[in-house]
Symmetry: C2
């Protein structure tokens, strides 16, 4: 009945749209229609290639397309899975991401990757309004929901101002630590968001393959007097978040 029409359309589409994108569209549809749900495993490259009668490489391209879109993530040599829903991160409301997440019932786990006490390079010193070579406390943490990595954060604190900072447990909100133990809280911030290629080490921590893109979010945080005391850099799995802000036009 309609089948002849359908096949006409299909061959038309086939003429224009590459096979691997058609397969990707197909799977995209299954995800949209919830036939495949969050963290469900997708068919393997080999089974897809049989299913659609294409070579493994073509099936692979379809899956890779979904992966770069962020609809799908892959776990090395285990398979590919449907990505979970995005988190929303309000950059204007600079109250701790950790507290926010916990308030919205997100199961957040923080892993401390590295801590150092070192000297500022020129760039960092400029951002923090300090002389070059000045002492800085730095730590890198990896944030997960469930066992799913979301972003890496490295923060640099003016060391003189926060003595013994690294003695605190960093698997909690640092905003909290700063307020409780150092009577310092964020008042304003300058934020930059950009998309860029992931670096090898980051890719490993985030559990994504090299040559993917990530979202980098950098912020300088200032106290009530406008004095910068922290520089932070977050590297997000791009598909895992969206960033919201509230802007107020200041006319001068």
């Amino acid at each position: 009945m309609l089948s002849s029409h359908d096949s006409d359309i299909e061959t038309d589409v086939a003429a224009s749209r590459p096979r691997f994108l058609q397969i990707a569209d197909d799977i995209r549809g299954q995800i949209a229609r919830k036939e495949l749900k969050e963290h469900d495993i997708l068919p393997s490259e080999r089974s897809l290639s049989e299913q659609y009668g294409v070579s493994r490489m073509t099936a692979r391209r379809a899956l890779e397309a979904l992966e770069t879109e962020g609809l799908v993530y892959s776990s090395d040599r285990r398979g590919r899975f449907v990505s979970p829903q995005r988190l929303s991160y309000n950059v204007s409301n600079m109250v701790s991401f950790v507290s926010n997440a916990q308030a919205s019932n997100i199961d957040l786990r923080i892993e401390v990757i590295d801590t150092v006490e070192t000297a500022m390079d020129a760039k960092l010193a400029a951002r923090l309004g300090q002389p070059e070579g000045c002492s800085v406390t730095a730590y890198t943490r990896l944030f997960h929901t469930g066992d799913h990595p979301i972003f890496i954060e490295t923060e640099y604190l003016v060391a003189d101002r926060f003595p013994g900072f690294l003695r605190h447990d960093l698997r909690q909100s640092t905003t909290q630590i700063l307020e409780t133990h150092y009577q310092t809280s964020a008042a304003t911030g300058d934020i930059v968001i950009r998309m860029r290629g992931v670096q090898a080490q980051e890719a490993q921590l985030l559990g994504i393959s090299a040559s993917h893109t990530v979202i980098e979010l950098e912020q300088v945080i200032r106290d009530a007097d406008g004095v910068p005391f922290c520089f932070g850099r977050q590297v997000w799995r791009g598909e895992m978040a969206e960033f919201s802000a509230h802007a107020i036009v200041t006319r001068r």
Copy 2:
């Protein structure tokens, strides 16, 4: 002299890091060292494969890696080129992007893709605080620097408030039009930024291949009374921009 050491290191690296990433690293270095400059053409897939003694597919993967990173753009069947520097877009300072760009000597060209006068769907109506089915003026424009596409913008205006809007020349700042002819200017905005996969039509307009990622920026713009009058969606080539914001913590 050092060559034996070097080759040791090289084979070590070779053992760990895939060949296609090594080639990508190599080219990335040439770009960083300015041996290849903005809009310079890269070696073709075939010449790269000869140069490094790998198959064309491997050379291709190297170039594709650079492309997804945004370091390189490709123009269908002409070749691959070094991407130009990013633009900086301050989302807090909501004064027209167009005026800003012109002030910073950026050669901006605007192409009007589509204009319509239609009825709001439920989602749009909610964002603009209007009843569903209400009349809306919409237009889609493509922004270039030189002949290089940067982003697509679609804006939706509450039609009743801006009669005859589409009669103006849209190849200029719409902020300007709104201020001059309708005594309306932006006071606050709610902005969302996310990374997502590009859609087929967008890919064509932006001159990128399908299955790449883009940055989507959505904003609701309100007047001095807090009444929303415009919803806009921008779809950026991710490598072409970075977004900055100034945040002020409001404690409640």
